[in-house]
Amino acid sequence: MTRSGRLAGAGAVVRRRLLVAVPVLAATSIGMFALGAASPVDPAKQYAGAAAFTATEENLAQIRANWGVDDPLPVQYLRWIGNLVQGDLGWSTSRHEPVASVLAARAGWTLLLIGVSLALVLAASLLLGALAAYRRGGLFDRALRTAAYAVQSMPVFWLGLAAIAVFALALGWLPAGGLTDVTATSTSWGDVAHHLILPVGVLAVSQAPWFVLFVRDAVAESMRDDHVLAARARGLPGRTVLFGHALRTALLPFLTLVGTHLPELVGGAVLVETVFSLPGLGAVTVAAAMGSDFPLLAAITLVTTAVVLAANLATDLAYAAADPRVRLDG
């Protein structure tokens, strides 16, 4: 079958996935709204902050009336979801600005951090995992697996602090946090890249064990496949057999699993951003949680979930495009 023939069902798959994803996202939003509404926190007092102690009851009532937080819950939910559909994500009570502008200003940095780290992890884990699988049980294999299990038990924020202690403070090679030098008056890309080396490295290293171990196991498995044995028997050089045959076979199932691992990466990014004081979504998420800013929290959770679902769909379509055995009618 031709490649276009194989992707002919793609439109139907996208439609079917959307049919599932939309109710699921709606249910998620209802659940989050219910949780937010069940919270004992009074949004008006939260909004007023310290002024809540001196504000009169009429003022607080005025705030509640403005936001309609005393309306019946279904009414509130429909208003919120109606605004959401029209692109109005609501008003962030912790940052005193629209949720949409908070996301617009910060999501880019989080995406940059996650994107670069993911690219780095993928490249490194494919190379290291394949090399370890080539001589199963060899010195490199055992060393890599031991390192992977050790790193796996290190919390990412601890790894970040350790990296700061070593590379920023003891050695003085890299800045300890922020996005630009304190003295800088504008953002230059070189400066930003210099500041991102440590955060990206820490996030990549902390996520690497899962990827490395998976690639190692998958390649070790495919080293026993018939076509790999045949390639060896023909006397092809080890490098060609490993990267040209074994790794290629193992690559496809690996790529689909990358999508399922994205949520982990997002959580890691929140923590790394906090450690390195980066102006991404992590810091505002924490501030929103402390300030019971439900509109912002709900928007961040919904948006990341939608992005993860979209990424999963994209990897599945890519899989179908790359593997002739996979058909999209399932």
Binding site: E264, V266, A289
Partner: protein, 294 residues
Amino acid sequence: MADLAARPALLRTARSRLRLRPGQAGVVTAGLVLVVAVVGSLLAPLVWPLDQSAVALDQTRSAPSWAHLAGTDDLGRDVAHRAVYGLRVSLLVGAVAALVATVLGGVVGGIAGTLGGRVDRILMRVVDTIAAMPHLLLGIFIVAMLRPSLGAVIASVGLTHWLSTARIVRSELLSLRTRPFVDAAINGGAGRRRVLVRHLLPHVLPRLALATTLMIPHAVWHETALSFLGLGLPPHLASLGNMINDGQGSLLTGAWWASLAPGAVIVVVTLAIAVLAARWRDRLDPRVRAELHL
């Protein structure tokens, strides 16, 4: 030089005395670490009581020494002493939250696996969706709702970590359902409940116990992450996450021990649990060898 040559020999004798295979040394070490951690954190209030709110401002940020094995933090509190209590809290939260998640996942997976059909499809769709949400964000959301406290942290971990358990229980039940001994029991006149309790449950329980154990490290990491973000336990309480968070300021002035020592405790203890659980999984299912031999 003589010393260096003698050591492997000594290790070999120790191994042969204990009749250990090479891979088992790691398991024994991990077991010892875990026993020390659990017994130590249980006995700590009796042996080495801690005043959680005590400070000693005349000896702030002193380096590790015999008096303070892991140094002191910015309020002059002994880091090692507080780390013992932090570990106590972490293990408690980890174990309770893992149990909550196991019960939740066991019930959902059990219903999906025994009923099958449409119920199964709907429940698994729900599981897939929650799995698409970054569970740290979901955990933060739950804590924000309940206000930071011990109960909120346990709820946050328990409600976000049951998905893998549900999947394991479901797939185990689905594969067991078609086995001949189940047919035999049904043909022998056993009712639905009897089949479930007497024939299916005994097969699922070991896996469930393993899943719970494997979850404890994750629960500990989640709890420390929340505390580190300031969304976990009350700040004056010694918890490993709180201590790492508090120690950040000290770390930037060169007193690295205030943050890194409590973190090292997490690493050692969770690694020990992971090593033991991996060996257990090898026993349970020899086909998927985890090959974790440290």
